[in-house]
Symmetry: C2
Subunit: 276 residues, 2 copies
């Protein structure tokens, strides 16, 4: 890497340093290699520690670096492409795309989920852009807010790594055939709920992706610190009667790239890394 | 908001504080309202400034707060749902979904884009998960790395706000009818490239979404600081001959939620805000 003094440039210093560091990573470091410590790096590049830290944060956001307690800062492998949009209209299941059922419980759903399930909402007026309709299409006239909802927890594993933790909310009325007595919780219960769900005819699904921070329990499952940046994928599953289930999946933002195929076409599976 | 002392809890202190603050935002603050300064907030909640800052960062990641220089920390409005996946197979255009052509230039594409366009790559082996094929399908046998590429810049406006900045890469061979003389740059040139592109028959598209940091020029256009967290949406447009164009769009992660409809179904346009 050698000693490199930064020239004076109009863009923020940390930004220029980021570019310089990024090139150094390409040329002088291998994936998994531990970077010199902050003091040493700051000295090498002739910048303040604060500037260095900002540049390292950028590179972490871009998935170029990983910072782990007890290990230090390492060069990250390319992000894993994880297929999210599927061409086939399929209900959530087990083993599909690496999803494994972990647990299931019955209770009340959070307010935001009830809203997505269409509780007490007719066909509202969209607040977003486009042609969207807000919260409409709830199970044939709205779910009561005290109606029990099954919460199935699934984990998704890709390339040996837990990449996503999901909570799937299934109103009891979507799975009327579910036996009450059989396994009350655990993976067996989760499988039973998924099996019942698959009896319904799926009409379609929609999905949103946004930035979020990892909740404590998801963070544990994904081997991250609580509050780490994550990609939140919210999916609604529709039948003719309305929204039959809502999934909220938390994907690791550091190691994942979500891919959306179209009509089963080729998907982007390698690292675009275009914006750096 | 009142003085609230935090109880001792097993989860990290900033995490618990985040939950408490989040409830306070719901109950005691209106959208756009400026929060008391850090010192005052830290005193109110009986926490150290560092803990408070971590909690505020979480809330910013989740889109609950906005921090702007010279304004301070304000309560953010709900994120805007922006449709990304379209059911109709349509080429990039102008005015569609709020996209406006800004500029166009001819030159060489970055290496990562050339890879997506299929330069020098046959049908490779996917490195990601799923059924993806890596980099294949380049314009009938691969683009030469020195082949000129038109770079069209578009901006997307939703609800009066610039929500995305896009670079659309169109290899010269995709638009053979483009007149060389007519407007060499600027919006007129951008429109001409888009018009020519629309002559081709679109076979399909695929898309990936990942976390990134805003490049200096995109940041300026999106009214953000360089390095702010953004959602990078990379789209490939296919014709029978292969990849005819590649789009790299930078979406504001603080104010946008990307929505993906399916068979023109209802889209999620309100704020799920489920994970907080």
């Amino acid at each position: 890497m050698g000693t490199t003094q930064l020239e004076t440039v109009p863009e923020p210093k940390y930004w220029h340093l980021k570019t310089v560091l990024s090139e150094a990573l390409d040329q002088d470091f291998a994936v998994g290699e531990v970077l010199p410590n902050e003091r040493e790096l700051a000295a090498r590049f002739g910048v303040a520690r604060a500037t260095l830290r900002q540049a390292l944060e950028q590179l972490e956001l871009e998935g170029r670096l990983q910072r782990r307690r007890g290990v230090g800062t390492t060069v990250a492998p390319p992000r894993v492409g994880v297929a999210v949009g599927t061409a086939e209209h399929s209900w959530p299941g087990e083993g599909v795309d690496g999803w494994e059922p972990v647990d299931a419980a019955e209770g009340l759903a959070p307010a935001a989920v009830l809203k997505l399930l269409g509780v007490g909402v007719g066909v509202g007026v969209g607040v977003g852009v486009g042609t969207g309709v807000d919260g409409g299409g709830g199970l044939g006239g709205g779910l009561a807010s005290d109606e029990p909802v099954h919460t199935v927890r699934r984990t998704r594993v890709a390339q040996g790594q837990a990449v996503a933790a999901e909570l799937l909310y299934v109103p009891a009325r979507s799975v009327p055939g579910l036996p009450a007595i059989e396994a009350p919780a655990g993976p067996a219960r989760a499988r039973a709920v998924l099996r019942e769900l698959q009896r319904l005819v799926l009409d379609g699904q929609d999905r949103s992706v946004e930035l979020g921070s990892a909740r404590a329990d998801d963070a544990r499952e994904l081997d991250r610190l609580p509050g780490a940046p994550v990609l939140l994928v919210t999916t609604r599953y529709f039948t003719a009667a309305g929204t039959a289930a809502v999934s909220v999946a938390t994907y690791r933002a550091d190691t994942c790239r979500l891919t959306f195929g179209d009509s089963g076409a080729v998907e982007i599976t390698h690292e675009p890394r275009v914006a750096s």
